[in-house]
């Protein structure tokens, strides 16, 4: 049972993501998570403010069910398949994160400083989480997809636009971590 409770190796994980995409194709759908954010906007009434949100969201119901599954999958994996949630990252990374104030590096799944229950009463954590989400949502829709739609589905279909988007994803991530982290957390 070790293979279930341990971290899945990269080759098993990557293959499992490809299988998720294959199964969705075989039931006649496309793998892409960020379009659900648009559907959620429409359900919340965004159609009144922009034509972009005026579509029949029920056509996207299937994808919301996939998302519900992803929530349930997270619950199952965290509670029944992961007795030790510590993520075994590179010791150098752990040391570096500690200098930035992330004491939970190497001991948790997510940093306590951002995602612990204390986050609710920490204005800095709330602002950073909300800002991070805002950029992800805005950028994903602007780019027409996220990690699943571009990096997996798009690259699998050899789409040049998806390669451009993935280059953009990485450029943004590198700028955030090398340029902005020392300012935000230093």
């Amino acid at each position: 049972m070790d293979w279930i409770t341990q971290t899945w190796p990269w080759y098993v994980s990557g293959a499992a993501i490809a299988v998720s995409m294959l199964l969705l194709l075989l039931v006649g759908k496309n793998f892409g998570m960020s379009s659900n954010l648009r559907t959620l906007c429409t359900i919340c009434g965004a159609g009144n403010s922009s034509e972009f949100f005026r579509f029949d969201w029920k056509e996207q119901r299937w994808n919301l069910i996939v998302v519900l599954g992803a929530v349930i999958g997270g619950f199952i994996a965290a509670n029944y398949m992961t007795p030790d949630r510590a993520v075994d990252i590179n010791p150098d990374t752990v040391a570096e994160l500690k200098t930035l104030g992330f004491e939970s590096a190497g001991a948790e799944y997510l940093p306590d400083e951002l995602y612990g229950s204390g986050a609710w009463t920490d204005p800095k954590a709330i602002v950073l989480l909300a800002l991070g989400g805002l950029l992800v949502g805005f950028g994903a829709r602007y780019a027409g997809g996220c990690t699943s739609g571009h990096a997996i589905s798009g690259l699998s279909n050899l789409q040049w636009p998806s390669l451009l988007a993935v280059i953009g994803f990485f450029a943004g991530g590198l700028v955030m971590i090398y340029l902005f982290y020392p300012i935000i957390f230093g």
Binding site: W8, W10, Y11, S13, I17, A18, L22, L23, L25, V27, N30, M33, R38, C41, F52, I65, V66, V67, A70, V71, G73, G74, V87, I89, T93, L97, Y109, L110, L114, A130, L131, G133, L134, L135, F138, G139, A140, R141, Y142, A143, C146, T147, I152, L155, N157, Q159, P161, S162, L164, A165, V166, I167, G168, F169, F170, G172, V175, M176, Y178, F180
Partner: protein
């Protein structure tokens, strides 16, 4: 029945996102620091298998379980939207450590402050919808 198939695929995907640690903020940080191969291995393996899957479906004109042809929509040709939009997405990915799939997986895993990220992402999508006609595409 179809709804059940979507739900089961989602559960499988959610478990994969958690167990691969692709949902871990620490793994994303480590990836951007080039301190481990793990995340590159995951994305690389998924793309290699994905290319084979898509090519096979096209080559043999494989139909869905429900008998419909499987279609792939080509992405629109553009430079600005992918580079700029991708860059903005990357800033958020680097900060929150969560992309749109893992956000939901982490909610199920019980890390409830991730709901703030989801709310932010819905708001960001909404803002895009409001100003999209004024952006270069």
């Amino acid at each position: 029945m179809r709804s059940l198939s979507y739900l089961l695929i989602g559960i499988f995907f959610g478990i994969t996102m958690f167990k691969s640690e692709a949902s871990s903020w620490f793994r994303i940080y480590e990836m951007f620091k080039f301190d481990a191969f793990h995340m590159y291995g995951i994305i690389g393996t998924a793309v290699i298998f994905g290319v084979i899957i898509v090519a096979t479906i096209k080559r043999f004109r494989i139909k869905s379980f429900y008998g419909d042809p499987i279609e792939f929509t080509p992405k629109d040709k553009s430079l600005a939207r992918y580079i700029i939009g991708g860059f903005i997405f990357g800033l958020g990915w680097g900060l929150s450590g969560a992309c749109p799939g893992p956000m939901f997986t982490l909610t199920g895993a019980g890390y409830l402050p991730v709901l703030i990220v989801i709310l932010g992402a819905v708001a960001g999508t909404w803002i895009y919808g409001l100003i999209k006609d004024r952006l270069p595409h």
